[in-house]
Symmetry: C2
Subunit: 144 residues, 2 copies
DNA sequence: TTTAATTCGGATAATTTTATCCTATTTTAT
DNA sequence: ATAAAATAGGATAAAATTATCCGAATTAAA
């Protein structure tokens, strides 16, 4: 469904949010260890998320990645997916036609559109706060 | 959402079904031209679909690809996706954990599961006959 | 001001996916 | 039998994704 980069990006964002609640910055090393991802590759993804303004970075000693505590609840899954995988999964044709076009639809269009919309709604209505809180409660996990 | 191979595979299967209604076999060349896909790559995908028993091939002169006319309505989109992309999209964890596990779910699990199930239901309840008939009526298109 | 701890960014490598090419094999018609 | 028309399948190649490495730039503390 999502690219590896996007999966790592979401898991990383949740872990950063979790720590930002406590006012703690985290390093790519710590993040990769926690979410079980390749460290250098994860670092690249974090850079992309910074560029897209999803997370913030602080350089130098005592630096690391963080998310403004007050904005955690405003960051939606769709922001992360958009930043890394782009909008094809929301807007693209399920059969790979150049664009999804109501006026000249592919055979899967009517049925696919429903699923695509549901995915969109789900990603747009899920924020980092919700996800991080579940982890804190021990109900969900970032690795296995 | 799906791989290129899978997109081509679905489009090809629909076109083959359309022709099999008329008792006509089609070649990879004709298929690729019709669905706007690379011919040799498409041929490989057709071979895979034959191996998975989704379509049939007849070698030699006057040969080509076809689908048993009586089985067109029994072939579901999920059969094609399964054959080419496997079952990860139905069964896998949305955040890329090794497997989706109810007992140790990822933070996205509850919400992702709903979308994944809807996709599964959609693919399992859509058959090649429905898709091919819409094209015949001129309501939908395989290329653009 | 120096040092240590960091992120940033470029270069490169490995792997997977997508794509092409060529030959072998099969089958029908002549 | 032979020739022609097809699919099958192996060997590569190209492109995209995933992954690693290393030095440059930045920042805070000592
Ligand atoms: S045209 Fe294919 S999904 Fe809309
Ligand atoms: S555990 Fe991630 S989707 Fe079920």
């Amino acid at each position: 469904m999502f690219s590896k980069a996007c999966e790592y990006g979401i898991r990383a964002s949740i872990f950063i949010a979790l720590n930002s609640f406590e006012g703690r910055r985290v390093s790519p090393k710590e993040i990769a260890a926690e979410i079980d991802s390749p460290q250098a590759f994860t670092a690249k993804i974090l850079q992309a998320l910074v560029r897209h303004n999803v997370i913030q970075s602080v350089k130098g000693a005592y630096g690391g990645f963080e998310i403004d505590k007050n904005r955690i609840k405003d960051i939606k899954l769709s922001d992360i997916v958009d930043a890394i995988d782009g909008d094809n999964i929301y807007k693209g044709c399920g059969l790979g036609l150049k664009a999804c076009d109501e006026d000249r639809p592919c055979p899967m269009h009517d049925k696919f559109k429903v699923v695509r919309e549901e995915l969109k709604t789900m990603l747009e209505s899920t924020n980092l706060e919700d996800l991080a809180l579940d982890i804190k409660e021990g109900d969900t996990f970032l690795r296995r």
